[in-house]
Amino acid sequence: MLYYIIRRCFAAVAMLFLISIITFGMFYAGPTDPARLTCGKNCTAQSIAANRHFLGLDKPVTTQYAEFVGGLFHERNYPDDPVFIKNNPDKVTHCPAPCLGYSPLQTQLVSTLVGQWFPVTLSITLGSFVLWIVFGVGLGIVAALRRGRWLDRSLVASSLILYSFPTFFIALLAYNYLSTQWQIFPQPNYTSITEDPAAWLQGLLLPWLTLAGVYAAGYIRLTRAYMLETMGEDFLRTARAKGLPERTVVFKHTLRAALTPIVTVAGLDLGGLFAGAAITETVFNFQGMGRAAVNAVNVFDLPVIVALVLIAALFIVAANLVVDLLYGVIDPRVRLA
């Protein structure tokens, strides 16, 4: 088992390297020139060239990539010129390891920016996750147990409707009606949990509802399907033949078998969402990682793009590994090594 984990970790690292190379290469082939964009007013060819040197963009791509990778392990300075550092120590930005780069367009270390964006995304993601699991899986179980009756049918129909609408539509509907017009929910905004937990909770309700609503719709259908499939299994007949109460048959025997694939799907969905829910964040004006990624792509802010892509990839790879390990724990027939 340990060897399996180690092997997977090596594979993950290899994959992250590959992703970073591809991302680097892709955006360096892009049309914009950060040197030109950040050189200030009255840019002459000379000042752009000087800016390019200042930003370290005149070095070959491979060197830049090597410096980026090196920056993950030791600290870097922006700009990197030792003469400049000696002469103007106060104009040097110091980037401790792990260094994710420096964004010339935002004149900040990427790590600082991510540190601001990540808590927002984390808050949205975790809150929605709890809500959609509780309601999605819970209602899915109810629908399966009451199969064919009106409760089941109405749940399936309403989840189909919810599922069919794009996220931004649901978000806008929620924002417009639930917050602005009917004033059921307060204006969504982000307050750090350390500052004011109550405000944090209130401000996040709408994004949670939107995201959870969209995902729960899918999970109701999924859970219902897996439950129904499991309910036809022979081992449940054996459980009843042993004289077990129906409650035990459903919650101990059926659920355990039915939830295994749901754990897999939920883990992967969660891993993907850690990269940020771009649409939800944009509609509700939350400065999370998803929104930042969209902005960065728009203005070709390469360091930010690279960092966000790598973080997203890291989460997905980690989620995959965790989910695979969990599957091996839940289902004893699965042998991982």
Binding site: D234, F235, R237, T238, A241, K242, G243, L244, H253, A257
Partner: protein
């Protein structure tokens, strides 16, 4: 225990209520395609320490009968009528709670495919412990000890180790033994075995049947064994019921039915078996045709489309009139229009004709 049934006075034994008595059991399933008459009037009795075999093709209603005894049919899906008297108590009219208490406790079932019948995520020990603690209020370690004892009793080597293994870690024969252990953990008075050996090799099959006979001697349980294998019935059963189209077409003691069968279907079943003691011919001797659909049973006798001896009955009675189950010998009954003496002749002839 067994001593109860071994009274000195046979008259007294007969006048006492039988351990299990099934009277005119009907199990019908209303479906969109029509009413499925899975069981259409079954009667039999069973005593402690005895074994009865229910034989028939797939779709003859054998398993449905056993599930009806255990009360495992959903009331919304199945319509049951008749009586199932277990020690005088009618299982069809008692409360759900009462029958749940009896299930796994006084009456238990062993299923056909132990790999799918056992929960794949729980160890064998955990499942046996669960069966035990469901009906007895004991601590976990006491129940675990009981599970290990049962595994040892059914012949599983190294029970201390194997009690913590999962079903997929057992071989087929061992799994079936484990399932028998789980069924017997509460010392049930009635054991229903639904095709317990169908999924196993022949040698393992013999071991399992021996095990069941030994356990019956030890526990004195009544056993209902459901199978389509006549060899199994001949080995373990005292009495036999032959089912066809949801009805019992012949019943009696195993000796009587095997040596002097009184129904054309039974003749067909016995003739279809390949036998080592007869000269080998090129072809086997199957019963022509297919089992009937339980929604559209043939009119009259359900077996009539496949019966080679319909001409023995005058007129069209086989096609128009459902035969009654009539006694044809001491303790033996059959459901056929052909005259009893004529049937004996036909069978004697065909038995003599066989090379």
């Amino acid at each position: 225990m067994i001593q109860d049934t071994l009274t000195a006075d046979p008259l007294a034994a007969r006048s006492r209520k039988p351990f299990l008595q099934v009277n005119d059991l009907h199990v019908h399933f209303p479906t969109d395609d029509g009413l499925v008459r899975a069981v259409d009037g079954i009667d039999f009795t069973l005593e402690r320490g005895q074994t009865i075999g229910i034989v028939g093709e797939s779709g003859s209603g054998k398993s449905v009968t056993s599930l009806a005894i255990l009360g495992l049919h959903r009331r919304s899906k199945a319509k049951l009528s008749g009586q199932i008297l277990l020690e005088g108590e009618d299982l069809l009219t008692v409360s759900d709670e009462r029958i749940r208490r009896l299930r796994g406790n006084q009456m238990a079932m062993v299923f056909q495919d132990p790999l799918s019948a056992l929960h794949p995520y729980y160890t064998i020990g955990a499942q046996i412990v669960e069966a035990y603690r469901c009906h007895h209020d004991v601590k976990k370690d006491v129940a675990r000890k009981r599970a290990i004892d049962m595994l040892e009793r059914v012949g599983i080597p190294n029970p201390n180790l194997r009690v913590d293994h999962y079903p997929h870690q057992f071989s087929g024969g061992m799994r079936q033994r484990a399932m028998i252990a789980m069924a017997l953990v509460n010392d049930p008075k009635l054991l229903i075995a639904d095709e317990p050996t169908t999924a196993l090799d022949v040698t393992v099959q013999a071991q399992i049947l021996e095990l069941m006979k030994d356990l019956q001697k030890e526990f004195g349980s009544a056993i209902i064994i459901i199978t389509h294998d006549l060899g199994v019935v001949a080995d373990v059963a005292d009495d036999i019921i032959v089912m066809y189209g949801g009805k019992c077409v012949e019943k009696g003691s195993v000796d009587e039915v095997f040596y002097t069968p009184q129904h054309p279907y039974t003749w067909g079943l016995l003739a279809s078996m390949p036998r080592l003691d007869k000269v080998r011919t090129d072809r086997l001797d199957p019963i022509p045709g297919n089992p009937p659909s339980l929604i559209n049973l043939p009119s009259g006798c359900a077996f009539n489309p496949r019966c080679a001896h319909r001409s023995e009955v005058e007129g069209d009675r086989c096609r128009t009139e459902v035969p009654e189950l009539l006694e044809v010998g001491p303790g033996q009954s059959a459901r056929c229009h052909i005259d009893v003496a004529r049937r004996r002749d036909i069978y004697a002839q065909s038995a003599g004709q066989k090379p």
